[in-house]
Amino acid sequence: MKQMVELTVNGEKKRIYVRPAATLLNTLREELGLTGAKPGCENGDCGACTINFDGRPMKSCLTLSIEAVDHQVTTIEGLIDTPIQQAFVKQFAFQCGYCTSGFIMNCHALAELYPNANEYQIKDWLQSNICRCTGYEEIEAAITEVLKNKAIEDTPS
């Protein structure tokens, strides 16, 4: 049976009825109309559904909606004009755009949590997403640019 839960998504509290078995991906898309997170495999393999969960990237297809109670969920719709979004446009880091939300959410969390991430860390994080259109070169350019600027920004002058 559906139960009422209160989720905090993109800073807004939302009271909705969900099934205990409903995934967060499903709830975001069907109940809240936030379709930026995409189903690509619903098996945790492709990362197209990546959202930020208390600031860390999480695959929303592997998360139950009820697990999100009392946590901060951020979806691509919650990012406004962030450096990584700008960098993706500037660097041509997407083509069809279907994997883009997931990649951006992953990159965004990385830049926020580990602005000094080294090459290995970047690889470690970004390998959890699949892009089938680009050859990853442009995505690398986008994340590198953002981290570089972030490092400059964060350096005390």
Partner: protein
């Protein structure tokens, strides 16, 4: 505007999650459909019992094959909408359940009881050709052929294409040296990130609305009309942004099932979206191939003859496979001048998922075969593989295997592409260079070519309208699936109208009711075809603007020019009028209005294409040949046989680069896809024809940082009839990658590697005969 890296027009929507794809839609009352698919590759369906399933909560209808005993197919009508009497591949749709929610539909699927009698499977093309019984299609003779095919039903052959150029006996006699190789690769998948999705609704007026993630919305219209006996003009198809396609979304499959599902619930709106697992095997896949190539040459390395046999694994149904069989045959030699060519290309049924178009459409497949043979020929002749290719590179004045004449206007410069690749990959350094006691650096090269086989009358159109502020709306029937054509077309229009691209609003969605009919968004033809239509529409709009402006400027239209959002006198540009003031007729100061509303329209149709001769293959299959050359550099571990792809090079003669960053992205993306396919992709079938890797957990694709460093350059030998000289480039980066990789690894490992995908284990098998020898480690 030409030559400028304009960011894609829909870019901001894609980085904010606002961009809508087919499945990003929900509304109260929307019904959900799910497929029940076959767990067997070949079996007779003895019975299907849906009684229990119908009692499941939320279920509104269940449709099975017997409800629609219709056979469908673009080349031959061999495929039921839902399996009828028997299943012919693992994953074949058997039933569709319509329910209030997706999970209820899914749940009900598990309550459908199907009784099967398992049949022996045809698991390889070789078995198929032996005529192994039972045949995949026992009733082949009763099928309707839509296209001209030459079948041999007793051997599971749906199409046998022959190319006969020159005299093969003479070729054999004139050859000082011949080489022969066998190559093969299994079927694989397009694996677009968006799985196929469709939504259908039938209104009381009889109108059928479909929303589909498709490359061919206008073909859907035709198919629904044809198979359900509905007047085609009642079928309206919408295609919003598509999340990648790569050829896999040009086939019509789920649309037919969704229509049947909607019909079963009184025409209500029903959505059907593939799971990843269904998308990989139930919907059509990338073709598999086995080939035998014999090349003959003089001792000096001049190619004399090619004798080629292709066996294409079409899987259980033909779909586009028969045309891929044809294209591969008609272009079988790759971009080399060879006077004596025999090719026998077979489209073969097996109990595998069925094959459809895939990026490259036969050319990457034929390329792998021919380029491996070229490498072996070079080794045997002791000629540098690069020199052998340059020496034999095809050029204007030569003819293709189908005897199509090549001219300066319809083919680029293959030799020049190779020369440039030679420099970029530092070929002079040597093909194999040891860099430590166990790591070897090795290079492999490949040429490539591709034409775009289309119906001889494939056509398209473009419509330009104006807003009150003088900005333009552009409407074409091309699908935006990531290739960026909508942005490219905007640039072409901006160039022609001499305005900034921001002054043009291009409609992303295709609506078959209002968008001009476009053949299909396939074969790297959208920029070529729709680009020409857009330029014609721009000329038409300018003519009308000048007519209206002539009233304002009191002159003849011929004295006027359009540019910078103005219409001005050629002799005195200071005398001008704003486009916005003449785009909707012209109004004099006293209120009198003259002229007319400007609506520019243009069209384009392929011309001079001919049907092929059934015996010799003679004919002109496509409008032009894009040529190029590629190289791969690997670091190969001689102990473990693991390798890293460090560098990949493409030099492509594209006629004219319209959007440099966009073009580079198309090429590097295609290179990545080609390398992914060659290095790790391919279905693994067990002895019962079951696909063991139909999800991303087990079907690996290249991920971040597994890609090589890309080096891409373009040559610009204009295509005479291309918009600003441009030719297609979307698919081509894939084509030479498998051969270049195999050539590099063959050189590194010192054994011929002729099967894909090339995983360390396959190199080990080839090198050590599959024997584990502890002393070798």
């Amino acid at each position: 505007m030409i030559g400028k890296s304009v960011p894609r027009k829909e870019g901001n929507n894609k980085v904010t999650g606002a961009a809508k794809y087919t499945n990003d839609f929900s509304v109260a009352g929307l019904l959900h459909a799910k497929l029940l698919t076959s767990p067997h590759a070949h079996a007779t369906i003895k019975s299907i019992d849906v009684r229990e399933a119908k009692k499941c909560p939320g279920v509104r209808a269940i449709v099975t094959g017997v409800d629609y005993p219709i056979l469908t197919g673009s080349a031959i009508e061999d495929r039921p909408i839902l399996a009828l009497e028997k299943v012919r591949y693992f994953g074949e749709p058997i039933a569709v359940v319509v329910a209030d929610t997706e999970y209820e539909a899914q749940n009900a699927c598990t309550f459908i009881k199907v009784e099967y009698e398992i049949l022996p499977v045809v698991n390889t093309v070789e078995e198929a050709l032996e005529g192994k019984h039972p045949l995949v299609h026992e009733e082949f003779k009763n099928y309707t052929q839509v296209k001209e095919l030459r079948p041999d039903p007793t051997r599971n052959v749906s199409n046998h294409v022959t190319v006969r150029k020159g005299n093969i006996n003479e070729g054999r006699t004139l050859s000082d040296i011949t080489v022969e190789i066998d190559v093969s690769f299994p079927q694989s998948d397009h694996a677009a990130m968006e799985t196929r999705s469709v939504r259908a609704e039938i209104l009381p007026s009889g109108e059928v609305y479909l929303h589909s993630s498709s490359q061919a919305p206008f073909t859907i219209k035709q198919s629904i009309g044809k198979y359900f006996n509905i007047n085609e003009n009642k079928v309206i198809v919408h295609t919003p942004l598509v999340g990648g396609a790569f050829g896999g979304k040009a086939a019509i499959q789920l649309e037919l099932i969704a229509y049947a599902a909607s019909k079963a619930v009184g025409g209500k709106l029903v959505t059907l979206t593939n799971t990843r697992e269904d998308d990989m095997v139930s919907s059509p896949v990338h073709i598999g191939m086995s080939a035998n190539v014999k090349l003959g040459a003089t001792n000096q390395g001049e190619l004399i003859m090619a004798e080629i046999k292709f066996l294409f694994d079409s899987g259980a149904y033909v779909d586009e496979a028969s045309d891929i069989t044809t294209t591969a045959a008609l272009n079988c030699t790759g971009p080399y001048k060879i006077n004596h060519v025999w090719c026998d290309s077979y489209c073969v049924y097996t109990n595998h998922p069925y094959s459809t178009s895939f990026r490259g459409y036969g050319h990457s497949e034929l390329g792998f075969a021919i380029e491996r043979a070229m490498e072996i020929l070079a080794n045997k002749l002791k000629i540098d593989p690069m020199e052998l290719r340059i020496k034999n590179a095809i050029k204007p004045g030569d003819t293709t295997p189908s005897q199509a004449p090549l001219t300066k206007g319809n083919i680029g410069n293959t030799a020049k592409c190779l020369e440039r690749v030679k420099e970029l990959i530092n070929w002079e350094e040597g093909q194999v260079v040891p860099i430590s006691d166990r790591i070897i650096k090795a290079k492999g090269i490949s040429s490539l070519w591709k034409t775009s086989m289309s119906p001889t009358n494939a056509s398209t159109g473009a419509i330009i309208t104006f807003n009150k502020d003088g900005t333009m709306n552009l409407n074409v029937g091309v699908v935006e699936m990531g290739q960026g054509t909508k942005t490219t077309l905007t640039q072409l229009l901006a160039e022609s109208m001499k305005v900034d691209e921001s002054k043009i609003h291009v409609k992303m969605e295709v609506d078959t009711q209002t968008s001009p009919r476009h053949w299909k968004t396939v074969a790297s033809t959208a920029t070529f075809m729709a680009g020409n239509a857009v330029l014609e529409a721009a000329e038409d709009a300018k003519r009308q603007l000048k007519n209206n402006a002539a009233y304002a400027l009191r002159c003849k239209p011929e004295e006027l020019e359009v540019g910078e959002a103005r219409v001005y006198l050629k002799s005195n540009p200071k005398s001008n009028v704003n486009v916005k003031d003449v785009a909707h007729g012209y109004k004099y100061e006293n209120g009198n209005a003259v002229g007319s509303l400007v609506i520019g329209h243009g069209s384009f149709m392929m011309n001079h294409l001919t049907k092929k001769d059934p015996q010799t293959g003679k004919g002109v299959p496509g409008p032009a040949w894009t040529v190029g050359a590629q190289a791969v550099e690997v670091e190969f571990d001689t102990k473990t046989f693991f390798y890293k792809i460090t560098k990949a090079v493409t030099v492509l003669d594209v006629g004219k680069v319209i959007n440099p960053k966009g073009a580079r992205g198309q090429v590097t993306g295609a290179m990545c896809m080609g390398l992914s396919w060659a290095s790790r992709e391919g279905f693994t079938f067990d002895e019962n024809g079951i696909v063991l890797n139909n999800q991303f957990r087990t079907y690996k694709t290249i991920r971040y940082n597994e890609n090589p460093k890309y080096i891409v350059e373009f040559l610009e030998t204009p295509q005479s009839d291309g918009p600003y000289g441009a030719r297609g480039l979307g698919e081509h980066g894939v084509i030479g990658m498998p051969a270049a990789l195999a050539n590099s690894l063959s050189a590194a490992a010192g054994v011929p590697i002729n099967q894909l995908p090339i995983v360390p284990e396959s190199i080990w098998r080839q090198k050590r005969g599959g024997v584990y020898d502890i002393n070798k480690f």
